[in-house]
Each structure stands twice: as C-alpha cells, then as structure tokens.
Amino acid sequence: MKGLLLKEFYMTAKYCRPFLLIVIVFLAVSFFGDDNIFFILYPVLISSMIPVTLMSYDEHDKWTLYSATLPYTRSQLVSSKYLIGLIFGAAAYVISIAATIVRMQLNGYFSLDSLLGMAVILLALGMLAPTLLLPLVFKFGTEKGRIAFYVMIGLMTAGGTIAAGLGLQFALPVGGVWILAAVVLIIVLLYVLSWRLSIVFYRKREL
C-alpha cells in the first residue's frame, strides 16, 4: 500500500501542480470579492477531483492494467485513491476554513455559528463529488466518470450563481451543534459507503 501511495504522491506532484495555483488565486479573490462562497468552495472542489484526475492518467499510461499485475488487492488499489483524495481534500479544506476565519476577522464579523455552518457546507460540497463519482469511475472507467464530474461542477456553479442572483444565502439552518454533528456524521458515513461500494465494483470489474 505504501508503494501505491508513493506513486499517487508522485502523480499529484506532477499533474496537480496547477491546482495549487488555482487554490491560491481563488482564495486571494475570496478576500477581495463579495461574500460569494464559490471562491472558497472551488479549491475544495478541485482538490476532491484529484483521484479522478489521477485515474484518468492511470488509464492513459496503462497503469490501471499494470497495477492489477502487482501484489496489491483491488481493495488496496481503490483505497489508495480514496486516501490520496482525503489527504489533499483535507489540506484544501483546512486552508479554505483558515482563509474564511481570516476574512471574517478582517471584515470584523466573526461568528462561530456562521463559521461552523460554513465548515459543514464546505465539507458536504467537497465530499459530494468524490462520494458520488468515485464508485462510478471504478465501475465504468474515467471517461464517463469525468464527463459526469464536469457536468456536476457546471450545474453546481450555475446553481450557485443563480441562487446568489436570486438573493439566496448559503447557510445551514443552524439549530445547534448536534444538527451540525449529525450532518457531518451523515457525510462521513456516505463517504465510507462510497469507498466500500467502489471496492465491490472494482473487484467485479474485468481489466
């Protein structure tokens, strides 16, 4: 498994460098722009895309086939992608939350409730794409999975823009820490379910 993770780190360092630039630019914009959550959300979204991006390179390089000849189980091959997604997703998430805190402080309206609400929304939206898409990609391959991913990002962006245009605010009905905790628990459970489902799909897939 260590070998697989190392390979994913090499791949991310090579192919996902532009993502870092995008993260910096978007977070910078979020400081100067209005309260649009999109600029905070986008870095988390593209980081969650890392596993799918890597899998597309794997297919192109024929690593998908080669890795099936190496002494790894299908479960390990799936888990390495989920883990790498979690590591970089978590990094982007922490940076985005930190940026939000700084912005709130700078603008002088820091509120723990808003921050927690925002943190849960970010987590939900960041985890949504990999949770839904990775099982599909492990079942059908990256081509169809990526198309679905781009469509989803487009729809979310459009939805966000329309909602903002209609004057809607992104906020959870903050009814207390327990509700937020429940939401987080559901998100985590869905992610675990997605991971298990991907393993089942990939074990059955003929390479």
Partner: protein, 280 residues
C-alpha cells in the same frame, strides 16, 4: 513442480471464446504462447493474473489456485505487458522507490545492474524512451524482485534484433535456475522459436498444440513434391498442405512418411501457418 498449470480453462466474450485451454509450464522452462492477434493470448495471461474472471476451469501457480493468496503469489511473479504500464513521467529512481515498497524481495542493486546492463538512463522520463527501452525497463523492473515466474505479453514485439537478442539472453540466464520459469506470448513466431522449450499454438481461442519445441521439430517436417506423390502418402501423415502450379508443399509427421521420402526441417513459423490454414 510446475510453475503454471491450466486445466479446461474457458472464458467467453461477445464474439470470442477461449475454449478448454490446457497448458503446463514446468519450472526451469520457457513456454511460448503463439497466436495471431485476437487468438486469446492476452486473455489467457489476464486469467492467469486474475485480472478477469474465468467461466470454468482451473489455474494453479506454483501448485496453488491462482485466486487464493493472490497477493502473496504475485510477489513471486514479474509481469511485462505490451505497453508496460509505468507512468509516463517517472524516472528509474522513482520507479525503484515505488517497487521497493511493493515487492518484499525488491533488490536495488540488482535493478541498478539491469539498468547498466541494458543501457537505460536513470534520470530520463519513461515517456522519452523508445519502445525497445520501455520494454527493457519493464523487464528490469520485472526481474529486480527475484521472481520465480516471468509473464511477458507481447514483450518482444517491435524490438530491434539487437535488443531482442539481449532480452532473449536474459531470459535464458533467468531460467538457468531450475525454480524459474517464463511464459511469453507473441504473434511473431520467430521471436519465440529461439528461446522457448515449449511452444503452444493458440488459434481463435483454441489450443492447436502444446509440445516441447525439440519434439515438434523432430516430429514434423516439410515435403516438396507433386500432387501425385503426395497422394501416395498416408492421409494421416499430412497435417497441412499448400498447392501451387509448381507442386505441393506439405507439413507431414515424419514417422508416418516412408523412409527415403525427402523430408526437410520445418520452422516454427511454417508449422504454425500450416496448422492454422489446415483448420481454416
């Protein structure tokens, strides 16, 4: 012990069926799997490596079912696929770092030896290699963890004669150890003729024959004669024929041909072509 045993292996795809395949690869030997494109060579290799599911039959590797303890078994197998599969930007050093954490018996010194021996630059990206160099890198990786079985799918296709010779020599060296075995597939029969102890012919998903190469060369021969002369021969002796206005060329079983009838040696390629055409 046999490194590989396949019994009654069947796999069906839409429009293709690998039927009741039986193969045995004893340790210390090289088995060449010959067949035209689409004959079922890659399907067989994928089934051995448990990359696809069989319909029926059994596959044993080192005496163990290939679907049991797969990870442990694969520690002893080196694989080179026709497109190798190493990520394009990686250098030899990065590949070694990954494989060191993948194979228990990974040997850095041995890998460096192979790089040197095969004139592979350590700092060049895999994508900048020629096809021959890519294959050589695949072979170096496959050998550097001290495998007992090497499986090569079309690994010699497209190599220039000099590289092919180097590679062939390496496989010969590898099987000098009696615990080692090689399964190599190719649609280029002449690639395998030189190196294999056993030859298996696959055609449209069916095994035409699997035999020791020397036995095949002893058993079969070519006769060049007229139609009338050929008719004098026992029909069972004739395993294939090519008729032209200048006469007949036929593949025959030597022991069924009367003494004194001129029989010349047959190459593996001719043997394969005659057998395939006879079935057509």
């Amino acid at each position: 012990m046999n490194a590989l045993e396949i019994r009654n292996l069947t796999k069906t795809y839409p429009g293709f069926r690998l039927q009741n395949l039986n193969l045995t690869l004893p340790s210390g030997c090289i088995l060449g799997l010959v067949g035209e494109n689409g004959a079922g060579k890659s399907t067989t290799i994928k089934l051995i490596l448990d990359m696809i599911r069989k319909d029926s039959g059994t596959i044993t590797l080192f005496g163990q079912d290939n679907q049991k303890n797969t990870v442990l078994t694969k520690q002893d197998i080196g694989v080179v696929l026709d497109e190798v599969g190493i990520p394009q930007f990686m250098t030899a050093g990065q590949i070694a770092n990954i494989m060191r954490h993948t194979f228990k018996n990974w040997d850095d010194a041995l890998f460096k030896d192979y790089l040197k021996k095969l004139a592979l630059p350590a700092d060049k990206a895999f994508k900048d290699f020629s096809r021959g160099m890519k294959m050589k890198m695949g072979i170096a990786v496959a050998l550097a963890h001290h495998p007992k079985l090497l499986i090569l799918d079309e690994a010699t296709s497209g190599l220039d004669p000099v590289v092919r010779d180097e590679v062939v020599e390496m496989f010969g060296e590898f099987t000098r150890d009696e615990n080692h075995a090689v399964l190599i597939s190719s649609h280029i029969v002449s690639d395998l003729e030189k190196i294999c102890d056993y030859i298996a012919f696959l055609h449209q998903g069916q095994l035409l024959l699997c035999e020791e190469k020397d036995v095949l060369l002893e058993e079969y021969g070519l006769v060049q004669c007229s139609k009338e002369q050929l008719e004098e021969l026992d029909a069972d002796a004739i395993k294939g024929k090519k008729v032209s206005p200048y006469g007949v060329q036929a593949l025959v079983k030597r022991d069924a041909v009367p003494a004194g009838f001129p029989v010349s040696p047959v190459s593996m390629e001719e043997l394969f072509i005659f057998m395939v055409k006879e079935r057509a």
